[in-house]
Chain length 417, copies 2
């Protein structure tokens, strides 16, 4: 293992300083997109980037790019980043880590006097969280041309572009900026790496999502007067259907994520057999074929439950997001870098959406996850250990360096050992 | 079969005339207790009773008693009745049938010149439905000394006793009125008699009720990032528990009534694994032993689900009403009367509460059910066929007559044939 390029302690201090902006109790942060807190965070990030000698550019969507030039004239950039906005009760890591790890890489390249062939750029995407403006991932979708601007809606009537101007981050389309590859470091926000005692994981892709609404209709009836074999109990039917669907989903593929997170029962009165129950299913998997197979299994399961429970069931898809598979080359660079660092990283899918899913539609992209404590996220209690943060940043830096091509002192030293 | 004592057509006209008071769309009635509509219904009933030559008495709770004297000095009365108040979207039969069938019996006894040994009295109990004042069965509970007056609460702060005075039906405790037996005719409000093609059914008793609140605690988690085998999904645990409890309840006794009518899921968000689900169970059966056995089975089932689903479950009883078994002699009189009428009546429990459950705690009591269409009740669509209403009233009349003892012409004729 080489001497680390990046400084874990400097990155950690940078993270903790950023967390003071919009600080909330229990060590959390609240920086909703395009608020004054977001502006302060952007101003601080901009100052740091300028101090690192970078040109700072802002595009039409308020995305901020700090570019460190490469040696090859007109070469596209290796882009690293994530987002500085947070959830209302957010933590110190979600998004922020990916941006500030990028900054740490720029600083480390400067310190080591490394010259890359391709520019290395760091990006802060606007409104990833989708809290103050819908849809989320606004900035990264806009950047890759996947945003229908007419659909952007602000909470309380806030206008995205007016708010960008207000905080001083309105920019112009960056038609002259080309991306060779995109790398995003993010906390896992799940329990897989912690359970595997793995500091980092290489993300295979982002799961596709289907939202399914299943309406079960029976008959309202008096709980005291209606015998068990004379009921059309929509809730008992829903319970049977949910249990059976979960079992069959897992037997399709144990990596599937099947959740009934929202349930509506009518009339929801303790002394009435409920005549109407609606299950809202969230289904996720990295493969469209598996998602399709589940929908087929669901269509076969419904008539069984209709017959057994004397109800009528109506199911429809209410949302569909296609899975993303990350670029082979980018993942290979991350894997090689992790191995060189002495780790045998876990490969895992991302169940959550990230800006990388926008980028992956246009350029080679990949993600690295850092271990999260207790899988907690979108919560002030969100936490990643300093040593895991440091390892993740170093592994990311090495992959970026390989992808960008090195000519300088540090790169030569690396080839010597 | 003797010539019928009662007139089905007269009873039907009386029912339909009463239904015009507080009439609502789709042939329903709305006469909430102690409202102006209730007063009008009481005034009409009082006039009919006086026209039938009866003394009308009102007790402290506004219960109205129309008494037809018997021949035996100071003998206790055979009491027949139910209630004239309705649900907000009530029908023409629930309660009303039992009161007006009693009136029809008084009229028929008059027409036939029958003298009974014991008085025959008809009662209209106050606030059976428990809509405008809690608890329900107020009048009958008060009459038998089971009402804690301090607990009576009126909707919008309405005062029970002030409202009684306002509508002119405040009375005094009836310490000098003794009851030999109580009979109540009511519509079934369930599907059993219709399914059995039985015009009437003899009610074995009123089921005991237990309300059980079962709280299942898991952990909120991200639906995308949390693998299936790493979840503590309170809703999936609740679905498994509900299915298993229903199955085990039915295998204890198929006459049990097990319902999960109310469900609360938190946070009830489609993309969060729900950390907290509460099931509100209504359990009914005629036997305390069966109800106890279910609670034991539930206590054994909970740890199974806790282990399998990685949740913690907390269950408690929030309501308990003991079962009522109706009087053997009264039921035998009803059975003999039905057989004399050419019917072999179904015996069934009542899943709903009735004023008879109050009376049964103090005097011999029984109930007769008339067939309901589609088991519908508490609904304008509530319906019982005129011929079933007529048969039920006649069967009730004959049972009352036997219980009250007859001396008159009609009684003699009956013995001759």
């Amino acid at each position: 293992m080489n001497k680390p390029l990046t400084s874990g302690s400097r990155l950690w201090s940078t993270l903790m300083e950023m967390a003071t902006i919009g600080a909330i109790p229990e060590n959390g942060s609240c920086r909703l997109s395009l608020t004054d807190e977001d502006r302060q965070a952007r101003d601080l990030f901009a100052r740091w980037c300028r101090e690192a000698g970078c040109t700072l550019r802002v595009d039409r969507y308020g995305n901020m790019f700090a570019v460190r030039p490469g040696s090859k004239a007109g070469a596209p950039a290796v882009l690293v980043g994530s987002h500085l906005d947070t959830q209302p009760h957010g933590g110190r890591f979600d998004g922020v880590l990916g941006v500030l790890a990028g900054l740490e890489i720029l600083r480390a390249l400067n310190d080591a006097g490394v010259e890359t062939e391709h520019p290395v750029a760091v990006v802060n995407w606007t409104n990833e969280e989708g809290v103050r403006f819908k849809p989320g991932l606004t900035g990264s979708k806009g950047f890759v041309g996947l945003l229908d601007e007419a659909t952007v809606e602000g909470e309380g009537g806030a206008d995205y572009f007016s708010e960008l101007s207000r905080i001083g981050y309105a920019g112009h389309p960056m038609t002259d900026f080309e991306v060779l590859a995109y790398y995003e470091l993010h906390i896992e926000q799940g329990p897989v790496l912690e359970a595997a005692k793995a500091p980092v994981g290489i993300v295979e892709g982002i799961q596709g999502v289907r939202w399914l609404e299943v309406e079960l209709r029976g008959h309202d009836a008096h709980v005291g007067t209606t015998p068990m074999d004379n009921r059309s109990d929509s809730f008992m039917a829903a319970a049977a259907l949910a249990s059976r669907l979960r079992e069959r989903a897992i037997s399709l593929d144990k990596h599937i994520r099947f959740t009934v997170g929202r349930i509506e029962v009518s009339p929801n009165s303790q002394n009435t057999v409920p005549g109407l129950t609606t299950l809202h299913i969230d289904l996720r998997h990295g493969s469209t074929a598996v998602l399709d197979a589940f929908e087929k299994v669901m269509a076969e399961t419904i008539p069984e439950v209709e017959t057994q429970e004397r109800v009528r069931v109506n199911a429809r898809q209410t949302m569909r997001v296609e899975p993303v598979t990350f670029d082979e080359t980018c993942r290979r660079h991350l894997l090689a870098s992790a191995r060189a660092f002495g780790l045998d990283p876990v490969s895992l899918p991302s169940g959550a959406m990230h800006d990388a899913s926008s980028l992956a539609t246009k350029v080679p992209a990949a993600m690295l996850f850092a271990q999260s404590r207790d899988g907690i996220s979108h919560n002030p209690l969100e936490w990643s250990e300093p040593e895991h943060v440091a390892s993740a940043c170093e592994i990311l830096a090495q992959a970026v360096l390989v992808h960008a091509g090195t000519k300088g002192r540090w790169g030569d030293e690396s080839r010597d050992t």
